[in-house]
Amino acid sequence: MSRPEVRIKDLHKSFGDNHVLRGIDLEIAQGEVVCVIGPSGSGKSTLLRCVNLLEEPGAGKVFVGGCEVTDPDVDIDAVRRRIGMVFQQFNLFPHLSVTGNLTLPQRRVLRRGKAESARIAAEHLARVGLSEKADAFPAALSGGQQQRVAIARALAMGPEVMLFDEPTSALDPELVGEVLAVMRMLADEGMTMMVVTHEMTFAREVADRVVFMDGGVIVEEGRPEQVVTAPRHERTRHFLSRLLDPAMAEVEPERPQGAGGDGPSPKRPPDPGLPDR
C-alpha cells in the first residue's frame, strides 16, 4: 500500500448526550476505494462529514493528504478544496445553470479565469455524459442527471479525495445505474474514494475494502468478498441479511397502545437501501 491519503485516528463525536462516533481508526491509501456500510444512525454520515470538517470532531485526529484537518489553525477552506463531497440530496445550486454550478466554485474559490473555468466545466460535463445539459437548470434534470452534475462539480475543483454520502439513495431505481457507472469510472481512474452506500454490488465489484459500522464503531472491515459473503460478526451478518432481502424481515409484534393507533407496523429495513441488483 502507498502512503495513506486519509488517516483517521481515534475519532470521537457527540451531539449532546448522543455519543455518535466512539473511537474510529481508519486509513485509506491513495487510489483506494472504501465502502462504508452499516445500519441507519450508526454514524456513517457523521464520519464522512468529519473528514472535511462539516462536523467538528469532539476528539481525535483526521489527516488528509498529510495535512491535519483537525488542527485548529488549519485553513479549512484550503483543505476542503482538495476533498470533493457528493450528497444524498445532490445539493446543486438551483439559481445557477449546470455550467454555472461548475464554474462559480472554480472562479470564486480557485480564482480561475472565465475561459479556463468554462473549459474545465465542459471537460467534466463530458466525462459524466451531460454535455448537452450544459445550459439547463438543475430543476429540469432527472435525479440521476443532477447527481452526475454534482459529481462533475466536485471533480472540476481537482480534488484528491472524493467522499460520497449515499449518492444513490434518493434516486428512482432505474436511475441508480448511471450514477454508479460514473463512480466506477472514477475508481478505475485511481481516485481515492470513501463511499457510504447500500449498493452491495457496487461495493463487491468496485471497492478495495468494505467497512461495516454499527453503534459508532467499526465492527469489521476487509476485502469486499470477505465482509459481504463471509462476515465474521453476527451484527454484520444480521445487517446484510436484512439489506439483501428486506422482504424477509419479520414483523416485530407491538402491544396495541391506546385506541385509534396505527396498529403494529412492519419493521422496516434499516435504511431505504436498494436491494442487490
Binding site: 477552506d77 470533493g84 445550486f93
Partner: protein, 277 residues
C-alpha cells in the same frame, strides 16, 4: 366555496349538490349587482364630477405633476428603499450572527422601529437629529433626510423578511458550498443570498409599495416647491384651486406606478417558480 364539504347525499331540500352550488353562486351575483346599482343610483354624480374631475384643472397640473411631483415621489421612495435594504441586510445578518450582543442589538432595533408610526420617525429625523447634532448635515439635503427616515422605517421590516428568506434556503446549499471550499462570507454572498432574494422578492416589493405611499410623509420635513411629491403637490393645488381634481390625478399617478410594479413581480415570481423546482 362554502359548500365544498356538503354531504354526498341530497339534503331534505331535494336539491343535488350541483344545484345547490349553482344556486349559491347565483345569489352571490345578485348581491354584487344590487350593491353596484345602489351606489350608482344614490351617488350624486354631478357634484362628484364638479369636485373631482374638472378637465381644465386637471390640464393645469401637467407637466409639473409628472416632472416634479411624481419624479420626487419615485426618488424619495428609491433612496429610502436602498437605505432600508442595506440597513435591513445588516440587521438581518446581525440577527443571525453567532455574536450574542449583535443578535440582541438587532432584536431591539427591530422591535423599536416596527412599533413606531412612520410619522414619528420622520419628525425625529427632521427635527430631533438636527437639534441634537447641529454639526451633522444629511448628505444630499432633503433627499438624504428622506432616505434616512424611510430607511429607518423600512429596515426593521426588511430585516425580518431577509432573515426569513436566508433561513428558508436549505442547509444542504451551505454545506455544498462549504465542501467546495467557499468561505462563510462567500457562501452567504454567492449561494445563500441570491436564493433568499428570490424567495423574498414578493414581500420586498410589498415593502416598496408601502414606502411609495409613506413617502407622502415628506411634507412633515418641510419642503420647497421644487421638492414637493405627489401627495403634497395634489393637496396644495387642491387648496389653491378650491377643487379636489388634483387629489384624484395624484391618486392616479400613484396607481400608475404601483399596479405595473405588482404585475412585474407576479411575472418574476412565476419565472422563479419554474426555475427552482
Amino acid at each position: 366555496m362554502a359548500d365544498t364539504d356538503m354531504p354526498v347525499q341530497p339534503r331534505r331540500t331535494g336539491l343535488t349538490i350541483r344545484q345547490r352550488r349553482r344556486l349559491s353562486r347565483g345569489a352571490q351575483y345578485v348581491v354584487f349587482v344590487a350593491v353596484v346599482a345602489l351606489v350608482a343610483v344614490t351617488a350624486d354624480w354631478g357634484r362628484l364630477q364638479n369636485q373631482f374631475a374638472q378637465p381644465d384643472i386637471a390640464r393645469q397640473l401637467f407637466p409639473d405633476i409628472i416632472t416634479v411631483a411624481l419624479k420626487n415621489t419615485v426618488l424619495y421612495t428609491l433612496s429610502g428603499f436602498v437605505v432600508g435594504l442595506v440597513l435591513g441586510m445588516v440587521v438581518a445578518l446581525m440577527r443571525l450572527s453567532s455574536v450574542g450582543p449583535y443578535r440582541w442589538l438587532a432584536s431591539v432595533y427591530i422591535e423599536i422601529f416596527r412599533g413606531l408610526p412612520a410619522l414619528l420617525i420622520f419628525i425625529f429625523v427632521g427635527t430631533g437629529v438636527p437639534l441634537a447634532f447641529p454639526s451633522v448635515q444629511y448628505p444630499g439635503g432633503i433627499y438624504g433626510k428622506v432616505a434616512v427616515a424611510l430607511g429607518l422605517v423600512s429596515a426593521a421590516y426588511m430585516a425580518e423578511t431577509i432573515r426569513a428568506g436566508i433561513q428558508a434556503v436549505p442547509k444542504g446549499q451551505t454545506e455544498a458550498a462549504r465542501s467546495l471550499g467557499f468561505s462563510p462570507a462567500r457562501t452567504m454572498v454567492s449561494i445563500v443570498l441570491p436564493q433568499a432574494f428570490r424567495i423574498i422578492l414578493p414581500p420586498l416589493t410589498n415593502e416598496l409599495v408601502l414606502l411609495f405611499k409613506d413617502s407622502s410623509l415628506v411634507l412633515f420635513l418641510g419642503v420647497t416647491l421644487e421638492q414637493r411629491e405627489l401627495a403634497k403637490f395634489g393637496n396644495d393645488l387642491a387648496s389653491t384651486t378650491a377643487n379636489s381634481t388634483p387629489i384624484l390625478v395624484a391618486g392616479l399617478c400613484y396607481l400608475l406606478v404601483t399596479i405595473p410594479l405588482s404585475l412585474v413581480v407576479r411575472r418574476m415570481e412565476s419565472r422563479a417558480r419554474r426555475e427552482i423546482r
